[in-house]
């Protein structure tokens, strides 16, 4: 698939306007759904397309929708997760700012599938511009009769509201997000019940990522079979946005079918590692997934291939580190993030992340002891799978994998009583002249 879907209008600032969108076939998919399909047919098509969630866990979208009880007389809600807060991830921001109607059309189709008349876009507070673009896009779509009351004369109503977050990573987690939307602290809920049964306002709720939903117009314009034909196999289908950050020559946002080879992405599309340096490590799917060594990166970036080598596709945010990177320092940086963002409900995560920060700080400063290696591993293992939400796992996985794969470097810090790496903290802006 050379044809781009998300990035086809990359160089055209008009792409966010409804005139442009409609002129290029926009809202046709929504119209065809509204006029000719039943909710069950929509769910069936999405199942057939193989679309899996792009927010991190890769759960099949059609299946998630089918869990919403049809006999419930409570209203149904859809939340589009636009919190985009996983370090290394910057794909949803592009869709929000540049293709807002693709996203709204997707929200509309998903809402119809679960019989929802009130949808929310939960957008991180920092995306002030993005929230403004969405507000304007919603107003445009309502003015054209694509959203709002009695849409396209079919009697179907759908209100979409932009709900701004307020600077908490945990509100990206779906049940934390639901609590936050209800006007509470973003404290994740125990599951079950799953949101599809009891979500926001005590009602059945579907939470889907921005990119997941933005795929829907493609599925209903070109057909489930077309979509299913994109990607390496029937379980990994559709176009995908890949975020690459760190020490490559051309960091940025890329689009390929699911299953892009990571080695190729780094060395061909991103131009390789910056001159004079070598690759040391890659975190392939956002900061929460296990790290890879250079010899492991000849891998297909899809859900199952990355899982097969013990990592995850996650949010497809590849963070590339070269030989000037101290991995103790990098892990410390990440654990500081998780310690700060732990919501504090569960003891293993609240206390464990803090202890990991303490241990890593002393190793980095040259005050570590050899026992610290096992201690760190033990703390991480005692967080993993022992918390209400997967933030605990997200904090534990980097630690366990860094220790497992780069133990030598940690031990060298301890033996030498200091950091052995020639760190390069200078400002590096590869595209400064662009």
């Amino acid at each position: 698939m050379e044809e781009k879907y998300f990035l086809k209008n990359k160089d055209n600032p008009e792409s966010k306007n409804i005139d442009f969108y409609v002129k290029n076939g926009g809202y046709k998919a929504w119209e065809s759904v509204l006029e000719g399909k039943s909710p069950d047919e929509v769910i069936g098509e999405v199942k057939k397309s193989g679309l899996r969630g792009r927010g991190g866990a890769g759960f099949p979208a059609g299946m998630k929708w089918s869990f919403v009880p049809k006999d419930s007389d409570r209203p149904k809600y859809l939340i589009c997760n636009a919190d985009e807060s996983e370090p290394g991830t910057f794909k949803d921001r592009y869709i929000i700012e540049r293709e807002p109607h693709m996203m709204l059309e997707g929200i509309a189709i998903a809402s119809f599938a679960i019989n929802c008349h009130q949808a929310y876009i939960y957008i991180r507070g920092e995306f002030v511009y993005g929230a403004k673009v969405l507000d304007e896009a919603i107003a445009e779509a309502e003015a054209r009769g694509c959203l709002g009351k009695n849409i396209m004369g079919t009697g179907y109503d759908l209100d979409i509201a932009v709900h701004r977050g307020a600077g908490a990573y945990i509100c990206g987690e779906e049940t934390g997000q639901i609590e936050s939307l209800e006007g509470k602290r973003g404290w994740p809920r125990l599951k079950p019940p799953f949101p599809a049964v009891v979500g926001v306002f005590n009602s059945p709720t579907v939470v889907n990522n921005v990119e997941t939903l933005a795929n829907l117009p493609l599925i209903f314009n070109r057909g489930a079979d077309y979509f299913a034909g994109i990607g390496p196999n029937a379980k990994n289908t559709g176009p995908k946005l890949y975020c690459v950050s760190g020490h490559v020559k051309r960091p940025g946002l890329y689009e390929f079918p699911l299953g892009k080879n990571l080695n190729e992405l780094i060395y061909e599309d991103c131009g390789g590692i910056r001159d004079g340096h070598e690759l040391k490590a890659v975190i392939p799917g956002g900061s929460s997934v296990p790290v890879l060594r250079p010899e492991e990166i000849d891998v297909s970036m899809d859900y199952d291939s990355l899982a097969a080598i013990g990592s995850m596709l996650g949010s497809a945010g590849a963070i590339v580190m070269d030989d000037t990177t101290c991995l103790v320092d990098s892990l410390l940086n990440l654990e500081q993030f998780y310690a700060h963002e732990s919501c504090g409900q569960c003891t293993p995560c609240r206390e464990g992340t803090m202890w990991m920060v303490k241990i890593l700080s002393r190793i980095e400063k040259g005050q570590g002891r050899m026992e610290d290696m096992d201690l760190l591993d033990d703390v991480a293992k005692n967080i993993n799978f022992r918390t209400i939400c997967p933030l605990g796992d997200a904090a534990a996985m980097p630690a366990m994998s860094f220790i497992d794969k780069f133990r030598d470097e940690f031990e060298e810090h301890i033996k030498q009583g200091g950091c052995p790496i020639q760190k390069d903290k200078s400002i590096k802006v590869p595209n400064a002249d662009a």
Binding site: F90, R164, P251, L253, F337
Partner: protein, 157 residues
């Protein structure tokens, strides 16, 4: 009551209420408006929001204190938030922070004596491909260099 939303903000708040079946859910949106209107989440502001939303003041405090977006103390006219998470750190975020600290003669977490700038280190801003990144009030500034920082800060009146 001593403080109140402007008429415009009150209208906006009424519009917001229409989207929610439960008024409690308007607490975060109300706090966003409060930040725009009053800048700081003082006890007085929180009491006002409580009466507006129809919840106890303690709930507003409890919720507002969970989120980093609502400042509890007075901040500078321009709040500079430099991302310090991994991707930005790899591209030189620490150097950016050091540079701004020297330039403004304050440490991260502080406000300049004239009340113009507050400098903060924050976590991933979702813009890692154009690191290093900072946000000043509502706006993002990406692919930062020392020269760019000079230009941006010097342009702020």
């Amino acid at each position: 009551m001593a403080i109140e939303f402007s008429e415009e903000a009150q209208k906006e708040y009424e519009e917001i209420c229409k989207h929610y079946p439960d008024k409690d859910a308007t607490l975060l949106p109300a706090l966003h408006l409060a930040k725009r209107e009053f800048k700081t989440a003082t006890p007085e502001v929180m009491e006002y929001i409580a009466s507006l939303v129809g919840v106890d003041p303690i709930k507003v405090l409890n919720v507002a204190s969970f989120y980093t977006w609502y400042p509890k103390e007075k901040e500078g006219k321009y709040v500079i938030q430099v991302c310090s998470t991994l991707s930005c750190s790899l591209m030189g975020a620490e150097t950016v922070v050091d540079y701004i600290e020297k330039k403004l003669d304050i440490k991260a977490g502080e406000t300049t004596a004239d009340g113009k700038f507050t400098l903060k280190k924050v976590e991933c801003l979702g813009s890692c491909g154009t690191a290093p990144v900072m946000q000043i009030n509502d706006d993002y500034f990406e692919s930062l260099t020392e020269g760019k920082v000079d230009q941006i800060l010097d342009d702020l009146k």
